[in-house]
Amino acid sequence: MAELLGWVFDALLALALLLLAARVVFSPRLFESIVLFIVFGLLMAIAWARLAAPHLALAEAAIGAGITGALLLSTFRELVIGRTPSPEAPRVLVYRWHGLMALLAGGLFAVLGWALLSIDVPTGPVAGEQAMALLARTAVDDAVTAVLLDFRAYDTLLEMGVLLLAVLGARAALGSQGPASSDDLWTDGEGDTPMVGALVGMLSPLIIIMAGYLLWAGAYGPGGAFQAGAVLAALGVLLRLTGRIVPAPRAGVVQRGVLVIGMGVFTLAGLLTLATGRAFLQYPESLAYPMILLIEVALTLSIALPLVLLFSGSAGIAAGRSQHSP
């Protein structure tokens, strides 16, 4: 009975995901597409839960609910603000190869599905089992954290590089034009509502505690630097949206330091391990736990700040005046 119901649930979930994906692409209204994409993220979190991947559900919750949605909505805002409706109807471009593309995408699906389903389930020792065997020898109990920061630490190091590059790119694109939106629109003429101060006051400490908890929980269960950083970044987005922090034309020394500290500490740890005659990022057993913890703290900060800067679209951030309605 439970098995059948589980199957029904999965099938419904699959159907809903497909429906949402199709509607994101085909909806005539951009706003509807954005909302549906956010809902798609919610259902992806459920799918991760069904696939026994709580780490990913956590990351999806933190990034999907906190950052992606706000990023899309504020871009939408910038695209519609000050737009004078043109007298002629917007011309929708119809490509000549429309049908062919649909056909190709469908063909791609067929080939992908066929190829993927015909791969045999591996019978020998898989990479995961090797990692599980190695896990006994590492400092942290959680397999995914161990993979991220120990066995495949290169991935994480390079990911920090990508994040930094994205921020630099966004700054090159938008930074030269001054703050993204000098009109800090939260107030829009009406003044702040007192509710917002209460909201920010109540949520900020809770979100910071949650980030700390996730960082600490990463050693033995779902959590870790990524999720903690994303949750902190969501707090930054909330503060930015309510005018508690405002864009600044340039980043101070502290902010620049925070931007690179993740990569810096990681690289330094790698060089130290090299200097002591080990492989790059192969921590000595006695120091593995403190080193991983130190790297995780640095990574959390270096993940949170770039995401806030990407959202803000500016080179730096500064504390804003706190707004109180009379």
Partner: protein
């Protein structure tokens, strides 16, 4: 008991799917955001039920993150300029 929890989760998923009709119909942006809030609450309930079914206590943390960050989306939405939500893009 597992079956009851899974059945409830399925029921909530069906509920969510029905609510998608409101996102489709609109008419205003506020309606769509209200529907998204409903989906957020439903997702939290489903996560709690699935955590019970599959014995994954980590999922309660996921639910916690969802409710902590639920307001970010609304705050981002209310910063949209007036009436822009209905404009076709």
């Amino acid at each position: 008991m597992t079956a009851v929890a899974l059945g409830m989760a399925t029921f909530l998923l069906l509920n969510l799917a029905a609510g998608l009709l409101r996102v489709y119909r609109g008419p205003s942006g506020a309606d769509r955001i209200i529907a998204a809030q409903l989906f957020g609450t439903t997702t939290v309930a489903m996560l709690a039920l699935l955590a019970t079914v599959t014995a994954q206590p980590g999922l309660f943390d996921v639910a916690l993150v969802f409710v902590l960050l639920a307001t970010v989306l609304t705050v981002a939405f209310v910063r949209l300029p007036s009436r822009s939500q209905e404009r076709e893009q």
